[in-house]
Symmetry: C2
Subunit: 358 residues, 2 copies
Amino acid sequence: PRSYTITLLPGDGIGPEVISVAKDVLLLAGSLEGIKYDFRERLIGGAALDATGVPLPDETLSAAKESDAVLLGAVGGYKWDNNEKHLKPETALLGLRKELQVFANLRPASVFPQLVDASTLKREVAEGVDLMVVRELTGGIYFGKPRGFDTNENGEEIGFNTEIYAAHEIDRIAHAAFKIARKRSGKLCSVDKANVLEASMLWRKRVTAIAQEYPDVELSHMYVDNASMQLIRNPKQFDTIVTNNIFGDILSDEASMITGSIGMLPSASLGASGPGLFEPIHGSAPDIAGQDKANPFATVLSAAMLLKYGLEEEKAAQRIENAVLDTLNRGFRTGDIYSTGTKLVGCKQLGEEIMKSV
Amino acid sequence: PRSYTITLLPGDGIGPEVISVAKDVLLLAGSLEGIKYDFRERLIGGAALDATGVPLPDETLSAAKESDAVLLGAVGGYKWDNNEKHLKPETALLGLRKELQVFANLRPASVFPQLVDASTLKREVAEGVDLMVVRELTGGIYFGKPRGFDTNENGEEIGFNTEIYAAHEIDRIAHAAFKIARKRSGKLCSVDKANVLEASMLWRKRVTAIAQEYPDVELSHMYVDNASMQLIRNPKQFDTIVTNNIFGDILSDEASMITGSIGMLPSASLGASGPGLFEPIHGSAPDIAGQDKANPFATVLSAAMLLKYGLEEEKAAQRIENAVLDTLNRGFRTGDIYSTGTKLVGCKQLGEEIMKSV
Ligand SMILES: CC(C)[C@H](C(=O)O)[C@@H](O)C(=O)O
Ligand SMILES: CC(C)[C@H](C(=O)O)[C@@H](O)C(=O)O
């Protein structure tokens, strides 16, 4: 059987609960498709801080780098909220992304027909939304230098960051996005602020040039302020969106909320080679941690993305996706997506129901 | 009578049509409150480009600076879309803001009860939304240096911008926002990305310090990605939002679209002293220009903001605001906000109806 090493990073809050379900589902779907795994669980975030004093221990990083894929739960919690920046759980995420060089963050936002009423958008606007935000994840203002604090000529404190893109950083995310758009509906919208920012002007120029290599994909450009409006006005006009790190942070979250159920949404972060990083888009939800109330669907769907994009195990991935739909159709729901007439269950039981459907 | 010099900048597309209505309404409301105006009309945007070769002629700038307030229509159009950056109509906006030093951009987003169904959000979510985004307008990444293009050590092209804030820039916008929040419901939410950006960390530190001077205002902080979600999930949780230039660009447009009718929304840009700049948030709509189809409400409401915030003529402002509500109640609508059972009229006739209600 094909065998893969998977690093599991449960993290904080509800992380361990949802990772535990996703691991079981991965195992089952894998065994049915002749896949074996070597799971290695490591510390990250607050859990790592408490145990080792740092949010991203070297041991965790090297395990992640040596594996075939990384599945992460969630990091963060009240306990560490007032830590200094380099001792915040979230810092581990930025470090992991940068070290794994996963420059392409895939954030699907699909409205499940069974959950369309969870959206705050009108049914006719939300129904059928199925879009993919491709966010540049290892460049731009998140990592640009110079950055920091200083004193200006008037003796005043200043804080500054640098939004910067080099041609190859734009090119590789553009190629990733065109390839994804090609497999979807063939429509790609590149979002920037090229009417103001030079970094965006270069972005637009490179994306436009690369479009020549994808004549089957229809490329359009939109300013970020307009995109934030259009996502609300008519989200169905979009298929694949590609944008920089900070705009992608904002727009992918906006797009998620259109679905109304962020407990359902997975993500994948991919590099040119090496392990990808897969995680639900929701946070660690410390308020419900340890109470068996967490929704494991997003992490289970992240495991499906891990199989599909990380290991190219399409069949096992498809099994998981189908199992999620089937479980929804059979009416099982956690509290966050519950509505009258459906069956309210805990995280564990939902996991068992998903397994029945795999 | 009190007398004011007003610079009118009709600009491009539907700009002249909506400015013409707003001017008449200003005149009437003013005359009923003992106000006289000296109107000076000047060129800006594409109109200025065609006539003088530049989008913001010196003559326009000096007229604006010497007046008591500036009312702008809209700039831009297909014709100039492919111009170089410094010859784009939109550049005039950035120049005008910087030269007038209008650092505080007030962007109300209120759902009119008469138009609640225009929102793509469910009625119960949209109904009663009444929020104010206070956007920093003359700093941050829009104007930060260094900026531009260069070649890196690998011989690759790079594009870069600087997000930078000095203490006094944050302080003055924070004071403006606290004062506005105090006059509204007393709740202020400051939006930043302080978990990643140093410029945001300074932002949060200064806003928190200034909060001491406004014990009657309840301050909260939110990350920009979360804010973009919360605006869709539950916009009524917000009253006043304060944020930087680029986040404000994105979030104020998102907030506008929640109302469903951007043809209704005004804006005000204010400095420490000197004339304020007042304009509708919509663009020049070249597709309907010159057809008497434009919705003048947003510009008329911008004229009300001009009276209220620019000239401290509360009574005349109130007259205009009431007239808008009355005209809506009497059922008059332009095409963009038309629905069955209301009366479809053109820009000019809507202006006449507003005048009847002043
Ligand atoms: C926690 C934070 C640093 C992170 C980001 O901004 O990238 C998060 O918002 C995300 O989108 O994964
Ligand atoms: C036209 C553009 C430069 C401008 C901006 O980004 O500030 C516009 O989007 C706005 O919000 O007024």
